[in-house]
């Protein structure tokens, strides 16, 4: 154990020495990873916020069942009770014709004067059905709407299915663009890291030869380069995180209108600490993998 720790300390010292020996090429690698992760992170942040809109509005996703005018108050209550037993329905609120009209008046404000001339209430009674958490999606809305429509006394059913489907398509598009762009940039970063480490291997060829002659194993020789790649990746990830946070705090407030359109008034959130760690871990993995590619290719040559 002591020997392993001693070796690890030697590797880290050697990696830091290598980092300091070629600050420019190392910085280019760090910046490339940072730029990649800023773009990928920005898309991830947007997708996370858009998804949170669905989660936050989940309890507002409702199916509205309009009732036949022929049903009297007792029949409406019986139907409401029957609707609570429909699979996927969490709760039911019965909205009478009078209540519907009162809501409408409140909703249109001054325009309510237009209703004064009506001889009778044109609005039907309805049941507002909120969904079980597992069915708060476009598909869930469709399933519950279909089941409720079959109840006797229900004349029509409305749900926010079209809106949810459109929003989910938007989320999928953003996620797809982010993933595609991320893959291309990650590949570019990988190549740059691999070349940086390759240059480091070449510039220290004499040192590696000497290490080998005094009995260093292949893993002993390779480990500092892997650590160097890992450090570059982790630094790139940390810089990306800092830049994303700065953008989030300084730039987003100026984009209020655009955000309102995408997030519908939900306050945007930054990454949680686990997601922050994931971003840095992604950078580390990118750096480590790039270094492994370089070391393997140099070992072959």
């Amino acid at each position: 154990m002591t020997r392993l720790l001693a070796r690890a300390a030697t590797w880290v010292r050697s990696a830091l020495r290598g980092f300091a020996a070629s600050p420019l090429t190392s910085s280019v690698a760090v910046v490339t990873i940072a730029v990649t992760l800023i773009l990928v992170g920005a898309f991830a942040l947007l997708v996370a916020n858009m998804e949170s809109v669905l989660v936050r509005f989940g309890d507002a996703l409702r199916v509205t069942a309009f009732l036949d005018d022929s049903l009297d108050a007792d029949a409406q209550r019986a139907l409401a009770s029957q609707a609570t037993r429909v699979e996927g329905v969490e709760s039911v609120i019965l909205v009478s014709r009078e209540e519907a009209l009162a809501r409408f008046r409140r909703g249109v404000g001054r325009g309510a004067a237009l209703l004064e001339g009506l001889s009778e209430n044109p609005l039907p009674a309805s049941l507002e059905l909120s969904l079980s958490p597992s069915l708060r999606s476009a598909a869930g809305l469709a399933q519950v709407a279909e089941r409720v429509a079959k109840l006797p006394g229900v004349s029509d059913v409305a749900s926010g299915r079209d809106w949810v489907e459109g929003y989910l398509r938007g989320v999928a598009l953003v996620r797809g663009v982010g993933t595609g762009l991320g893959l291309i940039l990650a590949l570019a970063s990988l190549l740059i890291i691999a070349n940086t480490i390759r240059l480091a291997v070449l510039s220290r060829r004499d040192e590696l030869e000497i290490l080998s002659l005094v009995g260093a194993s292949r893993s002993f020789v390779a480990a500092p380069f892997l650590i160097e790649g890992w450090i570059q990746g982790a630094l790139g990830g940390a810089f990306a995180l800092a830049a994303l946070y700065a953008i989030f705090r300084l730039v987003l407030p100026g984009l209020e209108f655009g955000l309102e359109m995408v997030l519908g008034g939900v306050a945007p959130r930054f990454f949680e600490w686990r997601e922050c760690l994931s971003l840095v871990a992604a950078g580390s993995a990118l750096g480590l993998f790039g270094a492994a590619v370089a070391v393997a290719s140099e070992a072959r040559s």
């Binding site: 002591t2 020997r3 392993l4 720790l5 001693a6 070796r7 300390a9 030697t10 020996a21 004499d206 040192e207 030869e209 000497i210 290490l211 080998s212 002659l213 005094v214 009995g215 260093a216 194993s217 292949r218 002993f220």
Partner: protein, 248 residues
């Protein structure tokens, strides 16, 4: 005594059998780099444990090639080489480093790391075996003191004289208390007085039980130390003169 015990422990760890075996044994060893051109031809030699041997001969005689075969930097074209009980040419990539850790090599061009200090250069030989930092510091200081370099330990090799660089190379070869010490023309670039000083340091290792093989074309040094002398010419052993009086 400590050195001998350390060696015995290392032999046991490596599974080496028969510590009565010679340190190095070459059977009909030949080495050719291109068709028809042999660096070594049918060499048969044996170096006992603790023996001090000079390899002499003109440039291109095969002295360096013979040493490179011993520390497994190259494989022979023909023949077998037993080094510390291991068949060196048949060792896989994983088995070569442990063998090299038991062999100290002093190269003609020193092979020091210019950007590392004297102390760091010597420490490399201990770091590859994973020695704890405190042990590395202590051993490096001890060997540098023994070679009179303790005051130069924070200097970088380019700022040292040729003799000092040679001593750093010897310190690195000795710090790990090797079973075998190979020195390739260790006095090649030094004046006579300095050459004798360096040779005394190398000879000191033999008195502590290390098998020492020194390649040199300096006949005066060979005569002065009166040890076994193997003469190579054109890749062949043309003379194997034992030490006068049978001294090791």
């Amino acid at each position: 005594m400590t050195t001998r015990l350390a060696r015995a422990a290392r032999s046991a760890e490596s599974g080496e059998v028969g510590s009565g075996q010679p340190a190095v044994r070459l059977y009909h060893v030949s080495k050719s780099y291109s068709a028809g051109h042999f660096a070594l031809r049918d060499v048969n030699l044996e170096f006992a444990r603790g023996e001090f041997v000079f390899l002499t001969g003109p440039s291109g005689a095969g002295k360096t090639t013979l040493m490179r075969l011993i520390f497994a930097a190259e494989r022979p074209s023909e023949g077998q080489i037993l080094v510390l009980g291991r068949n060196a040419p048949r060792l896989g990539p994983r088995a070569v480093p442990p063998l090299r850790r038991r062999i100290g090599v002093v190269f003609q061009d020193f092979k020091l790391l210019p950007r590392r200090t004297v102390e760091e250069n010597v420490a490399v030989a201990l770091e590859v075996v994973g020695a704890p930092r405190r042990e590395v510091k202590a051993k490096v200081f001890a060997v540098l003191k023994q070679l009179g370099l303790q005051h130069r330990r924070f200097h970088h090799p380019p700022s040292l004289s040729g003799g000092e660089q040679q001593r750093v190379a010897i310190a690195r070869a000795l710090v790990n208390e090797p079973d075998i010490l190979l020195a390739d023309e260790p006095t090649g670039n030094l004046d006579h007085e300095l050459a004798l000083e360096i040779m005394d340091l190398i000879a000191g290792a033999a008195t502590r039980g290390t098998t020492v093989v020194v390649a040199t074309h300096d006949q005066a040094i060979v005569e002065r130390y009166g040890k076994r002398c193997v003469r190579l010419e054109d890749g062949r052993v043309v003379e194997d003169r034992p030490a006068p009086g049978g001294a090791p």
